[in-house]
């Protein structure tokens, strides 16, 4: 009798268990069948196409390495070209969210594109991981659905200034960068840390974005012992060439875009001696970086730089978050929580985790540009670890000061 009861109980228990299983855990079986939709907002036409094309290359390299699978789910990858305008970014963001129903968006490239879509993204509750460096999106106007695994504009410049003051022993510098927010934020960060370490910024020069000839500005670079430049896109090339031909010999330091590894194939000898600070460096000695670089060379026959690495790492973060969430991405708020809690130790840039505002905390590498075997390479000379967007400053105090702008911090002279 007990056997009968046991068997019936056993059957009942199994049935109950099966029913419970169907109700409680239907997700894995079904979710693993539904593909994970990844959208990329990038720029593939027009003057900003350089970075945009590299961003897509980074994503494709990761997808190929992982055989198009994140946490057991197949990845549906949709790439959208915003054309480099804020209206285009908004339209394409809408296309990805409303038409393609993506689970997560990576990109866009430019800060002004990100600013155009930030409210929409929060409203549509779609997680977004971008390289765009606009400071306030993780400082004074944080967006809960935004994550930045690279760096905000000034994040690389704080360690650069520290290195310039302490190791390069520079005292009086002139800054020059394009006349827009990315330039202001970079130079502002540099100035604050440089002056805190006993240095002084003599002049701040701001050539407009489309300046063919920098000579009117180069003529003003004198009586200093170093120059800090923050050019982006193709402009660092023009600037360094014209700087060299003007006969200027002061050491030049720069940030993540000025000394980008991907630009080295375009630079000439004028880049030798350029010191840059970047969250990614080609010669980082992590396993992930070895795989990444090999993948980029196999797929595209190119050495990667900051843009491709940034998107590769974004994909790593999404993959890790999806694994953490058990393959579930339907509850956007929960998925966002998983994304923010990701902490990776082996990525192309080394360890990466996020602060409570969604900005990355990780290594920053100081590199010196040298010529090795006829080719330009960036050699890492110092690594700053655990660098956050606030550097060594108290977070509350930092957020109380205005965002870095053309006039903040003000010139002491």
């Amino acid at each position: 009798m007990s056997r009968k009861v046991t068997r019936r109980k056993f059957m009942a228990a199994t049935a109950a268990g099966a029913v419970a299983a169907t109700f409680k855990f239907p997700a894995p079986a079904i979710a693993q069948a539904a593909p994970f939709k990844l959208g990329l907002l990038t720029i593939k036409t027009g003057p900003l196409a350089q970075g945009g094309i590299q961003m897509e290359q980074g994503v494709i390299t990761y997808l190929k390495e992982k055989d198009n699978t994140f946490a057991g789910r197949k990845v549906d990858f949709v790439s959208a070209d915003t054309g480099g305008s804020p209206a285009g970014a908004k339209t394409k963001a809408q296309e990805l969210v409303e038409r393609d129903k993506v689970d997560t968006i990576v990109g866009p490239l430019a800060a002004f594109e990100l600013l155009a879509i930030t409210d929409y993204i929060a409203q549509a509750k779609t997680p977004l991981l971008s390289l765009a460096a606009a400071e306030d999106l993780t400082q004074r106007r944080p967006n809960p659905y935004f994550l930045r695994a690279s760096a905000c504009s000034s994040q690389a410049m704080h360690p650069m200034a520290d290195y310039a003051a302490k190791e390069m022993k520079l005292k009086n510098m002139i800054t020059i960068s394009e006349d827009f927010a990315f330039g202001y934020e970079q130079m502002g960060g540099f100035q604050q840390t440089f002056e805190d370490n006993g240095g002084r910024i003599l002049k701040k020069l701001w050539p407009p974005l489309a300046t063919p000839d920098y000579t009117p500005y180069l003529a003003q670079i004198a009586d200093c012992d170093g120059v800090c430049q923050g050019f982006a896109g193709g402009n660092p090339l023009k600037f360094m060439k014209q700087y060299g031909s003007a006969g200027l010999k002061f050491p030049v330091v720069t940030g993540q875009t000025g000394g980008d590894d991907a630009l080295l194939r375009s630079y000439g000898d004028e880049a030798i001696g350029l010191v840059s600070c970047c969250p990614y460096t080609l010669d980082a000695e992590t396993e992930a970086n070895k795989r990444f670089v090999a993948g980029m060379q196999k797929n595209f026959n190119l050495d990667p730089g900051f843009y491709a690495a940034g998107l590769y790492i974004n994909c790593m973060v999404i993959d890790a978050a999806l694994t953490k969430a058990g393959g579930k991405s339907d509850d956007k708020a929960e998925f966002m929580k998983a994304l923010r809690s990701v902490s990776l130790s082996d990525t192309p840039r080394g360890p990466v985790k996020f602060d409570h505002l969604g900005n990355a905390v990780g290594n920053f590498y100081i590199r010196n540009c040298e010529k090795v075997g006829g080719k330009l390479v960036n050699k890492t000379v110092k690594t700053y670890t655990n660098v956050s967007q606030f550097w060594t400053y108290d977070e509350q105090k930092f957020l109380q000061q205005p965002v870095y702008s053309r006039d903040f911090p003000p010139l002491k002279s």
Binding site: K44, T45, G46, A80, D81, G83, G84, S85, P86, A87, G88, K90, T91, K92, Q94, E95, E98, R99, A111, F112, L115, A116, T118, D119, Y120, A134, D179, F180, A181, P208, S405, R406
Partner: protein, 327 residues
């Protein structure tokens, strides 16, 4: 009942029912964009098509309205007040623009408008306290006229459609009015008009104001649609883009700019999702239009249609009804 009448009725019916047959809200949004860019193109066409004055600076005026709206909202004004003030500011800006530009005609007018557009673009970048520089201005909310929230995609579409139809009606009235006829006169024969006693400068000035009004209306719809304005919108490429809409569609026609706007917006938003080299494609389409239909898509299509009819039935009355050229 002519073919033209039926086509227009069908088009109207299609427009009114867009949210029902478009495959998804994304396409309804694209339709809204086509409509307000069409209003922008209609506004530019007043000058390019009917006055014979090519402007390469209209994006600057477009930007002035958009920034004015955004800035007024930031100052704390409600939507109706912000829109009204923005319209007034735009008309003043257009008046200044016209006063400066109308000192010249032909290529001089093109160059002055280009210079003014570039100056406005530079101002948008540098006057950071007003415009936010390249960080731009965000608009947090959309208006809710009569209780209908424009944040809803379909409601926004219908609001845009209403404004579009009103603008189109205004254009039709303008073109058929004495002022419109005088304007076309100044385009074709300025010296004769002058000799006949018409004040050519004043006629052109009023045309500029009308053009500015339509531009301002489209800019307000634009800025509420994207809820963001930054200096890129005032760049030379934006002015060139709307000019291309007018020329490719057919300057001097009512429907031409609408077709041109549809072409450019469709390629930029929808086709670019399927074809990576859409920029090349757009350029190739323009070149093809110039080769096959140099007068524009609308007049060209009408011409080819008539040619086809004549070839099919030689000797019979060529055009079934509606023989007059499209105004």
């Amino acid at each position: 009942m002519t073919i033209r009448f039926f086509t227009l009725i069908a088009a109207f019916a299609a427009l009114v029912t867009v949210p029902y047959w478009m495959p998804g809200i994304y396409y309804v949004n694209v339709s809204s964009q086509i409509l307000f860019y069409a209003i922008f193109a209609l506004g530019l066409n007043v000058l390019v098509g009917y006055a014979g004055l090519v402007s390469l600076g209209h994006a600057g005026l477009f930007g002035v309205t958009a920034y004015a709206t955004g800035y007024m909202l930031q100052l704390g004004f409600g939507h109706p007040a912000a829109i009204l003030i923005a319209l007034v500011i735009s008309l003043i800006a257009m008046a200044i623009f016209a006063a400066l530009s109308l000192r010249s005609t032909g290529i001089g007018f093109i160059m002055i408008t280009l210079a003014l557009g570039e100056i406005l673009w530079g101002l948008a970048y540098r006057w950071i306290s007003l415009t936010g520089g390249d960080n731009g201005l965000s608009l947090k909310t959309r208006p809710e006229p009569f209780g209908y929230s424009l944040s809803d995609v379909n409601t926004f579409y219908y609001a845009t459609l209403v404004v579009f139809l009103l603008s189109l009606a205004a254009m039709a009235v303008f073109v058929r009015s004495p002022l419109g006829a005088a304007l076309m006169g100044t385009r074709d024969q300025p010296r004769r008009m002058n000799a006949l006693g018409y004040h050519v400068w004043a006629i052109r000035f009023y045309a500029c104001l009308f053009s500015g009004l339509l531009t301002a209306v489209s800019a307000i719809l634009f800025v509420y649609y994207t809820q963001f304005i930054s200096p890129q919108t005032l760049a030379l490429t934006s002015s060139a883009e709307v000019l291309l809409m007018v020329i490719s569609g057919g300057p001097g026609t009512l429907l031409g700019p609408i077709v041109g706007a549809t072409l450019v917006v469709a390629v930029k938003t929808v086709v670019s999702g399927f074809i990576e080299r859409w920029n090349f494609l757009l350029g190739a389409i323009f070149v093809a239009i110039v080769i096959l239909m140099p007068e524009g898509l609308v007049p060209g299509t009408v011409r080819l249609w008539r040619l086809a009819w004549r070839k099919r039935a030689p000797g019979t009355t060529p055009v079934p009804g509606g023989a007059e050229a499209k105004p």
